[in-house]
């Protein structure tokens, strides 16, 4: 199940969930559903009797991450196992003992705003670690526009303004917050570029809605003009951009309601080098249903995206169950299906 419960389903139940899942995604995003061959492939992956499954030789893809090495030394709330390692030790362990295709570091809060006051600490750590790593080293965090609203930030809080009927004020607050966020993303990006940053990751863009997504797009565009050779990965936060504002556009494209294949297009237009696709897992539905939906969204995104598409497969994303210790049965089935059927360029 989407909450990690081990469930025994009949063949017909799985097939029904696959059918319902792909139909739901196709209807919502107005995209093609999985064809009969793809549905059969997905059934075979899900019904495989082995506990762990994998792609065929030659079909392997690379993996990027959102601070994966932080999980070595952080605590439970970060999915961490609490080993007393330094950042550098954790990154090198991930690269050399886990065989990571890419590595990354980021602020413990994993938001860009708190990086500003400690930017020189981050630059030093990044530089030192980049001298000893061999695989690409990203600096990543979430745009997280929510931090710019009161009481955490300078802008009035739309969550308080909207219930009070102050619509115009709520819209303005989001636009102002997006301006603050764009400036901070560009500031951190430029500073990291000074120390030879090999890649920047705007992870979970749009988590506070369309204005959040816009801020990340504008930051990508500005950074690509200033530092064109610094790769940028921009990941989304859900199957469609939430219209918290509703009337936000980037290059005349309204952002609210954009589905993954449309998100990939605007992310590419902004200048990002990789698009990260995120589909929330419904905890009350089966992995088969969730995975069928995700693969349907992903297949269309990879088919039409001008840039590589990586499917985010963290806890509760893209069919992975929403729980701390994700069952390896589900994780490997999701990974295999996203690559073999969804044609992901990476995870």
């Amino acid at each position: 199940m989407g909450d990690g419960e081990r469930l025994w389903l009949s063949e017909s139940d799985i097939k029904t969930d696959i059918e319902d899942g792909t139909a739901d995604a196709a209807k919502r995003a107005n995209i093609p559903a999985l064809n009969e061959d793809e549905k059969k492939q997905l059934f075979d992956i899900i019904a495989d009797p082995a506990r762990i499954v994998s792609v065929n030789p030659g079909e392997e893809v690379i993996v990027t991450d959102d601070g994966c090495s932080m999980s070595f030394y952080s605590g439970q709330d970060g999915g961490g196992v609490g080993i007393p390692l330094s950042r550098m030790q954790a990154v090198l362990t991930y690269e050399r003992a886990s065989g990571g295709d890419t590595t990354s570091i980021g602020h413990s809060d994993y938001s860009f705003k708190p990086v500003k006051p400690i930017i020189n600490f981050e630059k030093n750590d990044y530089y030192n670690i980049s001298m000893v790593t061999t695989a690409p080293l990203f600096y990543g965090a979430q745009p997280n526009m929510g931090l710019y609203f009161q009481p955490d930030g300078p802008c009035p809080n739309p969550s308080e303004l909207l219930p009070a009927g102050k619509i115009a004020e709520a819209l303005q607050a989001q636009e102002d917050a997006a301006d603050h966020l764009t400036r901070d993303l560009v500031y951190v990006g430029k500073k990291m570029a000074e120390v030879g940053c090999e890649g920047l990751n705007f992870d979970t863009s749009g988590s506070a809605g369309d204005a959040d997504f816009l801020a990340a797009l504008r930051a990508v565009e500005t950074l690509k003009q200033a530092v064109p050779d610094m790769p940028i990965l921009m990941g989304a936060s859900g199957e469609f951009v939430i219209g918290m504002h509703g009337d936000i556009a980037y290059k005349k494209q309204r952002l609210a309601g954009l589905y993954p294949h449309e998100q990939a297009k605007v992310v590419s237009d902004a200048g990002a080098d990789i698009f990260g696709l995120a589909i929330g897992t419904n905890t009350t539905r089966s992995v088969a249903w969730n995975l069928s939906r995700t693969v349907t969204f992903l297949k269309e995104a990879t088919a039409t995206s001008p840039v590589p598409v990586h499917a985010n497969v963290g806890m509760g994303v893209c069919g992975i169950p929403m729980m701390e210790q994700t069952p390896i049965d589900s994780v490997t089935r999701v990974s295999k299906a996203l690559v073999q059927i969804g044609k992901a360029d990476g995870l």
Binding site: E60, E198, D273
Partner: protein
């Protein structure tokens, strides 16, 4: 793909520096290494290639290139610009 155990880091470099999709990136790396696509994830093939080219191997061979030294060779091998390498070269 196994990172520096095999060729995952090399394929990743091509995706992030040239916006290559997975099949294009793998084909590019395989051509540069003069190996079959299937061997990109073949540890038995990739290990000696990485050691010979000095682009970093997963186990620690004393004195062999790792980190920035390996990345300098990777940039030359793949004909790409790696920003940390460019910075390092500018300081030599």
């Amino acid at each position: 793909m196994g990172g520096i155990r095999t060729s995952g880091d090399l394929v990743a470099w091509m995706q992030i520096t040239r916006r290559m999709k997975i099949h294009e990136a793998k084909a590019y790396v395989a051509k540069k290494l003069k190996i079959d696509l299937l061997d990109l994830t073949n540890e038995e093939v990739m290990r000696p290639i990485r050691e010979e080219l000095g682009i970093g191997v997963v186990t620690s061979v004393a004195g062999s290139p790792k980190g920035i030294r390996a990345k300098m060779k990777i940039a030359e091998l793949l004909d790409i610009s790696i920003r940390s390498v460019d910075l390092f070269r500018s300081q030599l």
